[in-house]
């Protein structure tokens, strides 16, 4: 009985458009949860289902994941400008991947929880911009 009840309620409630009858987690709730998740969790979450993947690949989620890993001093400019530039250059998910891949095996940092400093962030931004440039062909992005 319980599943049918939920299904009915989801049919009736337009705000719950992201809910699969049998999954039981609202997309907005999922979003709030994943905003607090670390990269590993995000990766796992993206494998669950199409809906989960969509949420897990949202740039805001990855922006939050990045922001947890770097300090205020690591980024020289304001949040908004950073956001617009990074999104233009390929997004936070890519940036995070660059940072994680590049600085995963550094001898100094022993855990994934180690913070990224200004140099790491700068370097990764450079690499991100280069990758974006390489994708540009004359006549269209």
């Amino acid at each position: 009985m319980a599943p049918t009840k939920r299904a009915r309620s989801s049919d009736e409630d337009p705000a719950n458009r992201g809910t699969h009858p049998n999954r039981g987690v609202n997309e907005d709730v999922l979003f709030e949860i994943l905003k607090r998740a670390d990269a590993r969790t995000l990766g796992a979450a993206a494998c669950v289902s199409r809906e989960w993947r969509r949420v897990a690949r949202d740039e805001r989620v990855w922006e939050a994941a990045c922001a947890r890993r770097w300090t205020e001093a690591s980024v020289g400019c304001g949040e908004e400008r950073l956001r617009s530039v990074v999104l233009a250059l390929g997004g936070f998910r890519r940036l995070h991947a660059l940072l994680a891949k590049s600085f995963r095996e550094r001898k100094t940092s022993s855990f994934c929880g180690a913070k990224w400093g200004r140099d790491e962030v700068n370097l990764s931004l450079c690499l991100l911009s280069i990758k974006c440039y390489e994708r540009i062909k004359v006549g269209g992005l």
């Binding site: 400019c77 400008r81 530039v85 233009a88 250059l89 370097l123 450079c126 280069i130 004359v138």
Partner: protein, 585 residues
Amino acid sequence: MKRENQYLYPHPDPSAAGSSSSTGGKTKVCWEDDSLPEAGMDELLAVLGYKVKSSDMAEVAQKLEQLEEVMGSVREDGLSHLASETVHYNPSDISNWIENMLSEFVPPSFDSNLQPLPPTSIDSFIPQVGPVDFPVMLDQPKLSPIFGGGDSSSSLPDYDLKAIPGNRIIYPQNQQQQQLEELSSSANKRLKPTAPPTEAPLTTSTRPVVLVDSQEAGVRLVHTLMACADAIQQSNLKVAETLINQIGMLAASQAGAMRKVATYFAEALARRIFNCYPQESINPSFTDLLLMHFYETCPYLKFAHFTANQAILEAFSNKKKVHVIDFSMNQGMQWPALMQALALRPGGPPAFRLTGIGPPSPDNKDRLREVGLRLAQLAETIHVDFEFRGFVANSLADLDASMLELKPSETESVAVNSVFELHRLLARPGAVEKVLTVIKEIKPEIVTVVEQEANHNGPVFLDRFTESLHYYSTMFDSLEGSTNSQDKVMSEVYLGRQICDVVACEGLDRVERHETLEQWRARFGSAGFESVHIGSNAFKQARMLLDLFSGGDGYRVEENNGCLMLGWHTRPLIATSAWRIGSSQ
């Protein structure tokens, strides 16, 4: 002893010291040897007038060593009987001749002095004639190990091109090395003035090289390369040709970086000997492709760009309008990173103008314009005010400050950037000075220069050859660590072209005229520039960059009086420096 002397050690004319072909000629005339090698005779020795069966080479070598030791250890008068009483028959047949010589010495009294010969294990067995006393090598300054500490498998611990006497190679080092060295060096001293020149890197053409320990073959390979270059220096093209074949075979016995370097150098030498340098066949799209792979595989270009950008960024701090003049536009890979950094700097991005200078392209494709469009697209997405202008010029020396449409310096700050371009100007006298003058007219805030750290522009060919052999060996070593094999191959081709240019070309064709940081410092200093120290930010970023590359352990960043150098292990390979107009100007 005179007559015997001539046959014992073919003594060249004093005026042609080291020239083996003239020696060969002399001996040939005396002996009426046919210049065609007989069946089974070693080719190289035949050229020089000796007849040795290839199958006998090992024995002959051993016996010669014995003979040398014995002669070295006799007392003062011990040799005199050789001069007066001994009759020598047919010394060109070395094998028998040595037998005779050895029998002249009273065996028992010399037993104690004779070093025990090594066991006849294949490994320690090098068919090599005589001590490797290479007259030219002795004049060379000490050269750093060519197997620069890269792969431990191919590195020779005490390798020093100058100091290798014959014994050291032939006998494994754990066997009474001291005594052997002493003996051979004393023997060498006595025999040096009449020692056979340039026979050093001989190998048997018929004996399979597989039998030889590859470390030894590596040493012989280097010696052969040097011998060939020396022969070219002396204009002995015949000998050089023969040696080229040997190089080919020796190179095939090597593995990894050494083989590739040797192959490229051999090709360049061959081009020089036969005067066939490919002139116009260079396809610019292919060059671009090679450059991109080189860019991805190893950190040199990225290091150059990132350190130069850091210097430019610091010079442009707080400026509202900036203008960069790039002498080395290529694909424009340096500028996305700078644009991003400008976009994210605390005060907001300035207006960014870029003037790119490039060579004319033979296929009429407007490369500069394409690059400009791509950069403009990027700039637009990150909201940086961007303007691009491209200039096509055959040479930087054709530029004039007036062409660049400079704004007055109060409104716009200028930076000049040159990555691996300035050395090309050295082919034409006066060109560099003109360009430096033009730069001064531009009145830049900063001039960033990245150049190879090597002297490949000396007047003597052999010196250039030696320098470049070491330089490119180190570079190829550093490439070995990369995982993507296609990238690696392309990078090697890219470097191979430079090798070809340094070795095979002359005059205006030779554009890869690298010079060291010290030389550039002197040039900039005397032109009225003063050095700007590159800050620690750049240093840290560079260090971090290197960690990203596989084989990152081998790369080293060094600071040298305000300039940054990137090297592989102990050898610096490229140097970034920054300049501004001296305050006295």
